[in-house]
Point group: C2
Chain length 318, copies 2
């Protein structure tokens, strides 16, 4: 039976799974990454993990899809400079292919989560869709004609769109990006700054006044309970997501937006201001009347499914 | 000999031309649109103009490409609600096909200008490019894999991206769009507002104090001569074009941006602040170091060439 291997390469876990051609997950393996052991050993651990799920005959292998933290060069198969892995400018696709066979394809994690949603989740049946994950950072995956759109290799970074040129600094060092307002990191940072400036909030009580302990989860929970400062910060996060969606609608005019990631679980607190901003900023109702905004359906194994889906897409194009 | 017809349908002129398969222009015809005569008569005039350049044998016709002011539905062949033409919700593709033969394809003017630049102008050889016309409005045409990208039909409206959510109202009625700052209309409006508020400027002398006579051309000319207010307005127009390009780079990661339209002729006055803003707002130099920003090469007949190029692209896909 022809099989596909999906591999999720993260800073904490290395995971691999074998799939059939319909992307049913047949078998999985995982181990801790343990980046402290250094690049060579972590690569050996990755190969080991993949070997555990390889088909018995190399002839049965349709391909291996590696899902990696960006930035990557998907055309050259190179991992550029992942913040949480002990590798740099590494030709990981050819290295894995040499070790365990192939062909090997690579994609970045947000793009592949978007592809998995397109093939198996909330994006099924669409021709044009945009997946946005609002988590520690804000990532996105753009699907055009059923394929992940990467442009010259690094497209689809909606977290680093400018949503307010006079806004706060983003984690990347530049000003006014979506991620500075709406990511978990951004939400926590804004809360800490407002508390440090003396604002009253139940978020302060939650951390016993110890500001470094403020997280976006705590801000979200206090917003749910009605704390005004927390509510305002989550409303602002939703507002700027809406500003970004407004621009994405007129640029890409997709059928559907799919929101994943922990911050997206805040429900109306986040999505009401999002929808309001979309209607406030989009040139014409034709854009938002026809465009669905829904939640992602896949959970933990989204990386494994994304890697497997990438193999299927790439092999179909040959 | 197989031939293609390109047709440029404008509020002032109806133009049609016959091309060979290599997009050499063989013969052209034109007449005034005269919208005051009403929809039926203007349609007859359009058909008449096309007939003048049709090949003798219908078998030689590869197709007709109509270039229309947006918004349109390119899949259904429908002209939705052009501001300068006496038609609304009109199935223009099938109507023209019935009158003169076909197949007939339609595209909007900015998308088709982008396609013409891709096939014959400054975009040749690129796989991913973005054409931006900075004129009365700001329009754009996005080329992906050699085809105009339209998404669900209305994609690629970079003029209506949000570049400053607290910015001035755009001509479309929504706030902070690129077009509100950087279009000819936006530049003239901002100059009028600043003059009305009492600011000193040689622009005031140029119109004898008659503010409605202020145009972006006058503002550009006075900026060239060093008038501080005019310089500031053009610098701001360039800055916000750069903010938009910064977002477009991380979203589409194209090989090349191509700038057309009258305002793009302002040279360094516009492009220095544009490049400065790009470097200020893009997450990583990898995006702008590899991406060219150049001027358009085609002039008046860009619509005719765009229509013909559309036919060639669509027929190749069949």
């Amino acid at each position: 039976m022809k099989t596909i291997i999906g591999v999720d390469v993260g800073g904490t876990w290395l995971r691999a799974a074998r799939f059939d051609e319909e992307l049913n997950l047949l078998e999985r393996a995982e181990q801790e990454t343990r980046t402290e052991l250094g690049g060579d050993i972590v690569f050996d651990r990755l190969v080991e993990t993949i070997r555990q799920v390889l088909p018995e005959s190399p002839n049965d292998l349709l391909g291996i899809g590696l899902v990696l933290p960006g930035p990557i060069d998907p055309y050259a198969g190179i991992l550029i400079a992942p913040p949480n892995l002990p590798w740099k400018e590494m030709p990981i696709a050819s290295m894995v292919q040499q070790a365990v066979g192939g062909p090997v394809f690579i994609g970045n994690d947000a793009d592949m989560a978007g592809l998995a949603e397109h093939q198996l989740g909330a994006g099924r049946g669409t021709r044009y869709m945009i997946y946005v994950t609002v988590s520690t950072g804000v990532g996105s995956g753009i699907i055009i004609d059923g394929r992940p759109y990467v442009g010259c290799g690094q497209a689809g970074e909606a977290g680093h769109m400018v949503v307010n040129p006079n806004g706060p600094l983003c984690g990347c060092g530049k000003r006014g990006h979506l991620e500075a307002y709406s990511s978990g990191t951004g939400i926590a940072r804004i809360a800490r700054e407002r508390l440090a400036a003396g604002e009253e909030s139940s978020v302060r009580d939650r951390v016993g006044g110890n500001l470094p302990e403020v997280t976006s989860r705590i801000v979200g929970e206090e917003a749910m309970k009605g704390d005004p400062m927390a509510l305002d910060i989550i409303t602002q996060a939703g507002h700027y997501l809406g500003v970004a969606v407004a621009s994405l609608m007129v640029l890409f005019n997709p059928e559907r937006f799919i929101f994943g990631g922990g911050v997206s679980q805040l429900g109306d607190l986040l999505f009401k201001p999002l929808h309001k901003a979309v209607q406030e900023y989009v040139i014409h109702p034709i854009y938002w009347q026809k465009t669905q905004i829904v939640l992602a359906q896949l959970r933990e194994d989204v990386g494994l499914y994304g890697g497997a889906a990438l193999v299927r897409v790439m092999r179909r194009e040959e």
